[in-house]
Structures are given as structure tokens and as C-alpha cells.
Amino acid sequence: MRRLIFSRPKSLRDVEMHYCAGCGHGIVHRLLCEAIDELGIRERTIGVAPVGCAVLAYDYWDFDVTEAAHGRTPAVATGIKRVRPENIVFSYQGDGDLAAIGTAEIIHTANRGENITVIFVNNGVYGMTGGQMAPTTLAGQKTDTTIAGRNLKRDGYPIKILEMLAVLPGVRYAERVSVHSAQETLRAKRAIKKAFKTQVDNIGFSIVEILSMCPIYWGMTAIQAAERIETEVATFYPIGVIKSY
């Protein structure tokens, strides 16, 4: 009899996702569910879905999820965690959500050292609204609002949020990973699991940044987008542990 060695995790509902072909969100959703299942915390997990491409994430996860205003997921997660400290609370955010409109929330949540986990998916553009420039867009990258490429003089520099947060004493665990290849995806899963373990063990604030593909708004195929992460994006946003306990 054939034995199943890899299948959909229990926390991931068997529904079709609305993401474009080759989008990294689907991979990150699954890694999150695998980590939650392996730690056995599904019954006491509460997620906070962002505004952005992952706005419908609650349709795909089979645990409690709530929705927050744009960029305010860490603030909502703080409230939930303080009222229900026995629950595992995580905030799922994109780069337009966390690095632009929600910068104040993430910095102060990290500074207070709230015992929550933040999953930060960085694809360098605003996907949901049509591919505009995000604060994390690389120099020279073409988007809908920077048609000649991002001009550092006019648009400023890309923000390295993780390095910025790592200087705060409240942050206990910060790691940057990627989902552009199977090997890196396995590494990303270990990082997400460790971030949740940080919260389960009551150590403090944990954040994982995941470099993800957006083939549609990068104007390339999924395979080219995965290559671009390796050759361009990961050279500016280096993959690895930024801070650990």
C-alpha cells in the first residue's frame, strides 16, 4: 500500500486560492500551517489577516483569524494577546502594509516587546492595488508609479525593516528567508517554526521576513521571478538570521 509522505497540512483548507500563478503567498500560507500543526497549537492560534493581497487569508486557514485595518495588524494582535495571553497570536503582513502605512505600529509593537509573531511577506510592490512602488521596491525597479525605474533621489531608498527593528531590545528573534527555491523554502519553514516557538516559550517578539515573488507586477514569468530573488533581491536584502536569542 502506498504511504502518503507529503500532503496538505490540516490547518490549510482544501479550497482554491485567489493568488496569481507563482505567487509566494500560497507557499507562505502552507509553511505557516505546517509549523502550527507541528507545534500542535492549532486550537489556540489566532491570526490577524492584513490588507493587501493576503486580505482573504482567513478563507484558507482553518483556525481563528480576524481582520485589521491597513497596517494595524500588530496593534490588533497586541490587543488580542494582552486579553488572551494563553492564545498564540500572529500577524500576517505584506510590505505595503508593514513597511509603509503600518510602520508606526510595527516599530512600537516591537519596541514594547509584545509576545507575538509577525510574518512579513516582502515582494517589493503593492500587488493588490495594481503594482505601485512600495517602500521596499529596489533601486531601478520598474513599477506602475516608477515607470523609468525607482529613482533614489526622487523616491528615497528601499527600507530594510528587519535591520531597523533588530536594534530594538524588545525584538528577540528576527530572520530573513526566501521562498524562491525548494531548499530556501525548507529553511523558511524552520524560521517560521522557530518564530512560533519563541512565542510558545514566552520569550518575546519574533519576526520573520520572507522574500516572495510577484511575477505579474515584476513583469516576468514565475521562474524568472524566482531567479530575480536569487540574483537581485537577496543581494540587497541578505538572507539569514538578523537577531536570535
Binding site: 502506498r2 504511504r3 502518503l4 509522505i5 507529503f6 500532503s7 496538505r8 490549510l12 482554491e16 486560492m17 493568488y19 496569481c20 500563478a21 507563482g22 505567487c23 509566494g24 503567498h25 500560497g26 507557499i27 502552507r30 521562498v179 527555491s181 525548494a182 531548499q183 523554502t185 525548507l186 511575477p215 514569468t221 514565475a222 521562474i223 524566482a226
Partner: protein, 68 residues
């Protein structure tokens, strides 16, 4: 021999599994699925080791891996 099962009607055609299979056993089919996408399929042209790299990278989570 291990084998994989791809849920072809749900494939969106990103082909990340095709480039991530170390043995090159996943190919692009010639006909279209219900979405109008040329889905990836498992060609039994070589020996699958059951490493599950295709399933790990699949954004749609539609690949299942079976041991013998």
C-alpha cells in the same frame, strides 16, 4: 518506487515544480486544463526519489507525494 500526484485541474501553470525537480521528471502538458493553462504533469521517464521538492515549492499545494 515513490510517485507524485498533481491535481491537474487546479494547476495555474507557474512551473516552479518543473525547475525544482532534481531529476527533471515534471513536464508541461500539451493540452489545457479547465483554467486554460498547460498544467504540469508527472512523466514517469525516470526514477522519482520522493524528495518532495516539487510539493514544497508548489504555491497551490496540489502535489501529493507517495512512498512505495
Amino acid at each position: 518506487m515513490p510517485k507524485i500526484k498533481i491535481d491537474k485541474p487546479k494547476c495555474k501553470g507557474c512551473y516552479l515544480c518543473v525547475v525544482n525537480c532534481p531529476k527533471g521528471l515534471i513536464k508541461i502538458s500539451g493540452d489545457m486544463n479547465i483554467k486554460g493553462v498547460k498544467a504540469a504533469f508527472f512523466s514517469r521517464s525516470g526514477k522519482c526519489t520522493g524528495c518532495a521538492m516539487c510539493a514544497v515549492i508548489c504555491p497551490e499545494c496540489i502535489i501529493e507525494v507517495y512512498d512505495t
